[in-house]
Amino acid sequence: MNKDFEEINVEWSLVIRPKTSWFDWQIADIWRYRDLLMLFVRRDFVSAYKQTILGPLWYLIQPLLTTVMFIVVFDRVAQIPTDGAPPALFYLSGLVIWNYFSTCLTKTSVTFSANSGIFGKVYFPRLIMPISNIISALIGFGIQLMLLFVLLLYFYFFVGVQFSLNIYLLALPFLLLLVASLGLGFGIIISSLTTKYRDLANLIGFGTQLLMYATPVIYPLSFFEGKYRSLIMINPLTPIIEMFRFSILGVGEFQVSSLLYTIIFTIVSLFIGILIFNKIEKSFMDVV
């Protein structure tokens, strides 16, 4: 057997070479590690329940107290209208979507700094981490959605609010996908940038807080006219929350065009996010 012949017979299972392409996304690798993805989700799920006194109750307490706070401050004191919907349902429906977004964003924005230990030791497609984060965050979302429905039933049976659930609720999975992709896209952009600029991490905390006020959580889009309205329309979350509210409470406004804008915005940010993430992923261990 001569050397050339042997050469041909060897089938390399892995070739490690300098990665220069921006588009080498290794989707197949992510698929191969899907078991790991689900195990990470399971880990987040289990560890969230253990070691806390109230366990999953925290998922309920936070939106409930926030809703009460909003009712006092924005409904009673500031008297911001809620498009005729009961304030409690109005705020909570906005919060449910907002909380899911902000959890996705904050969790994925620390991908590199929170996992540098494990990333430094063993290879797996790094995108597995942030993707598992947004899936884990669905748990909290589910609990809060349930709370919203319970409150809805309460208002229907005991307060006499008109039943307003409608066919648009079927769009919820799609809306969730948009929120998750948006959170993931921005989260991994931030996590990539924080590997170089640690002080950006400080921005995330109050940045998300500020962003909430630029999102129709505590006010309806119809509250604004003119240039403020178009400013709020720039926020890709606006049509999502308005549409979600419409599907549950029958109040809110959304057009196909603004939804289309959100879709395009989401795809572009996710695309840019993955590009930067992949680039940083390769050099991350050398910078830390």
Binding site: I16, V122, Y123, R198, V287
Partner: protein, 440 residues
Amino acid sequence: MSKVVIRVDNVGKKYRLGVIGTGRLKDDLNMWWAKARGKENPYSKVDSENPGSFDEKEFWALRDLSFEVKEGEVLGIIGKNGAGKSTLLKLLSRVTTPTTGEIKIKGRIASLLEVGTGFHPELTGRENIFLNGAILGMTKAEIRSKLDEIIAFSGVEVYVDTPVKRYSSGMYVRLAFAVAAHLEPEILIVDEVLAVGDADFQKKCIGKMGQVAKEGRTILFVSHNMGAVQALCSRAIMLQSGKLFYEGTTRDTIAKYSHMAFDGTKAMKIWPDPSIAPGNFSVKLLSVKVLDNLENVRNIFTDNEEFFIEMEFSVQNAGNSLTSNLQLFTEGGIFVLSSGNWASTTLNVDPYSNRTFGKGIFKSRMKFPAYFFNEGGYFINAIINREAMTPIVYVEEAVTFTIVDSGDMRKEYTDFMGGVVRPKLEWMTTQVNEYSLNTN
């Protein structure tokens, strides 16, 4: 003809030193602004070669490295700290990517560094087996098929559904190791340098390695322990400054390494300036010398010569009880012996054994007899103890010397003689009986 399972082809890894951004967005913007205006770099290191510049220094941790590993081979990788061993392992385990060249691998590669990676304290032993196994690249189905084996191997059966935060550290390591051990990679990487943990655990790693090697799988073994490399590896490569310095049989490579790492020129060490001499305010080491029996300083001896190690030290405050002490190492780092002038450890009577010293300058001299060393390089650590126990002077590798074979002991057997010492010892052979294999 066995197949090549790893081919490293012209691999280089470049790191950037110096200014890689400041780590703060504001400062980076400032820096770019200064650069744009042609000003000095406000964040360059003051002590760098040309302060104020924007130059980045490059550092090649690996350069033009090429080698092959065949199936079933146990390859030792040796080299000094900073030679590029760890970088090579990082590349092989895909933690980082090469700057140039490519590495081709056939089969699953796993490293014993990763033991316990991703263990979560809140999860049970069983859950952690799945998580850790998946991190190491196993599928759920694979883990399930080996689950019983892993649990049995770890010896934590009773506690497998208890969160691992309640485990003792020993149980924790055993469980982690059990997962790694059942990974059954075609190629195993063992980095002894980085394998922190107790001696027991290291022994386990080495033991597992031997077993894997027997199964005919490929192993890359990185170690500073030349004894272990010699015992386990069939072939070895030596890295030096990121390049392949030598490739050959384990014995040849180790010989090359020992030779490179050893500075054989230190026949004496003198501290002319007492203010920076080792010691404290009252005791200072002045010099350490290797002397032949004519009082000449030299450090190459034949094995039939006797010679001396001499320490000179000053004592400024009277009343200290001092002991001179030496440690002997081979060039490969094997600790051969330590010796001191305590009364119970000297062959003769040293008048200063176990005594308090007055003010003055003193010399302590120890004799190495002829026919004591094997050929090779050795080095000496010089120590002065107070009250027999407390070291107040400790100088590593104070002097070195080389022993050359005189041929005196080579009149019959001329091949390689192993070991670190080669003393002439007493032998006696007698006849037990006449021509009968029955010893009763």
